[in-house]
Amino acid sequence: MKLLARYNRVNLVTTIVVMFITGIIYYQAISFILTSQKDKDLKVEEMEVFDYVKQNHTLPQTFQSDDQQITFSEAKPGSVKREFIDTRYLEKVDKDDDDEKPSQKLLPRYESGRGLISSVTVGGKYYKILIVESKVETEYLIRMIFFITIGVILLLLIILIITNRLILSRLWSPFYGLMNQLRTFNITDAQDIAKTETNIDEFRELNEAVAGMASKAKHDYKDLKTFTENASHELLTPIAVINSKLDTLIQTQNFSERQSKLLNDLYSAVSRLNRLNQSLLLLVKIENRLLHERQMINLRTIIEDMIVQFEEIFLDKRLTVTCNLADKEINASQYLVEILLSNLIGNATRHNHPDGKIFIALTGKSLMIKNTGESVPLPEEKIFTRFHKSLTSEGSGLGLTISRQICENFGFSLNYTFGAGYHTFTIDF
């Protein structure tokens, strides 16, 4: 849930509850004041009745006004308790008034009213007095208040929504800007976290902290890379010396079979060391994006050339290579693409069994290299990590890491699947 939504929700609920409670209190207060006002009117009326009785010793004529009715009824002496009641007020329809509304003529309207029950003794007779006043105006007033309250709540809601939309999202924009930068942050990129213009302290601090962290991470990573690069470079010279000394050594004469075997082993070890070293250097270079000379290259031609180039190696292992190649041009570095293809085709050859098969299919969308080999699938999540290799592999353990890096460099994806005895590597363009 977004902080904004969460905040809004709490805000809204509180506002509505508070408005509601205020509305109730308001209603009660207004209602109380108006009712006591009515009660005062009723008391005045009662007093008038008492005065009249005292002067005239007879009951006043029951009369009717627009909003007041007085009725007298005989009752058992002492049976009437003086009290205020909420009752109904029967609106008598005036015949003259309602000529134009015949439908309402016979229908008396009930309205809510406030009544006072009292008693008076006239000429030895005990009478119950019921004075009722209409509360229509009061109710109208209360209804008005209610609607105004609802209106205010609605208005508040709308204002809140607009505020959130306009002001709050603008307020949060430095935060989202920073988030976007973090999401696209790449330790290998040269780009730093940009300063977001904001005068909100929290965001500014966050920005500074993130920028600081990013530049430190980059710095450390760069150090590490420089170290790898320097170490590999320093290794090149001794490897070159060993290589040249070996070349010189074999020029001397008369080697026993045992010595030749040792020399051969030395040669292959140096050659492996060299390849490993070259791979490390290459990885650093790809990550540094130092190999950027892109051009349009036809994958089909490169693959065909490569197949011809490695013909003897396929033949030696009696591998059947089947190609199904469509023309596909990509914008990439020829050097890297050759390394990529040589790695993948090389793996398909090296990890194949004699008399095995290799299928290479190139379409406009993907390149698939499929080969027979061990009948157990490779651990997909591990094979692309550095220095992972099978027990029998004599490779550097960096080939697939490099391949994936190259693919990522060009925005392709490289994936592995296993099925029906075939190991398949697919590059999706």
Binding site: K245, S268, S271
Partner: protein
């Protein structure tokens, strides 16, 4: 051949010097920037092997100096920097070739021979070794005027052998020369044997002497008996 080896690493310099020293070759060496400059200003060479990273200065400056003064010396850069930019910079400045460390001495020899051949026999594209005559332009091999049909790799191998005649070339060096970096896809170099067998057979059938000898299971040697 008159060769100057500019290389600061003693082990490498000595190996190169020893490998190139044979009858008719004069090898001189320089181990730093100053002595290299001094030698370049004094003498002229068929080919200069130039290391880029030198104590006292950058090898690229030596190359620039050479080209400023219009020295005709062939230049082969040997560098530990396998970056394309360096390679392009070196070649643009007028270097004839670029070889990345580490390399096989036989590969170096083949490249140097090619450079000197281009420099010395201007116009002539014929490489002759006893009864073998190779037209480098047409890529044709003749033994006593009989055309021998060789594949691309067999042809490259023959040139490589002749450049390194009298030397034992390891199977590694041959494989790397013919198949390049992709050679690590092969589990072993046994297939080279059948390759060599083919080229031998073709040459002998055309009436050529069998110059190619196996050397203790380590490699091969192209030499007169």
């Amino acid at each position: 051949m008159n060769i100057l080896i500019i290389e600061d690493e003693e082990g490498l310099r000595e190996s190169i010097e020893e490998y190139f020293s044979e009858a008719g070759n004069i090898c001189e060496t320089a181990s730093d920037y100053q002595s290299a400059m001094a030698k370049i200003n004094l003498y002229s060479y068929d080919c200069i092997l130039l290391d880029i990273t030198l104590p006292g200065g950058n090898g690229i400056n030596i190359l620039k100096k050479l080209k400023e003064k219009n020295h005709p010396d062939g230049v082969l850069i040997i560098s530990a920097k396998n970056s394309l930019d360096d390679r392009i910079e070196g070649l643009n400045l007028g270097a004839d070739d670029y070889l990345v460390k580490p390399f096989h001495l036989s590969e170096l020899k083949a490249r140097v021979t090619a450079i000197i051949r281009r420099k010395t026999f201007n116009g002539s594209n014929l490489l002759v070794f006893n009864e073998i005559a190779i037209d480098l332009l047409a890529k044709e091999v003749k033994v006593d005027n009989t055309l021998v049909k060789l594949t691309r790799k067999e042809y490259a191998l023959l040139i490589y052998f002749i450049a390194n005649k009298g030397k034992v070339i390891s199977k590694n060096a041959i494989a790397e020369h013919l198949w390049g970096d992709g050679i690590d896809m092969a589990n072993n170099f046994d297939f080279i044997y059948s390759h060599i067998k083919n080229i031998r057979k073709k040459l002998v059938e055309a009436g050529c002497h069998d110059y190619i000898q196996a050397a203790y299971g380590m490699g091969y040697k192209f030499a007169e008996q």
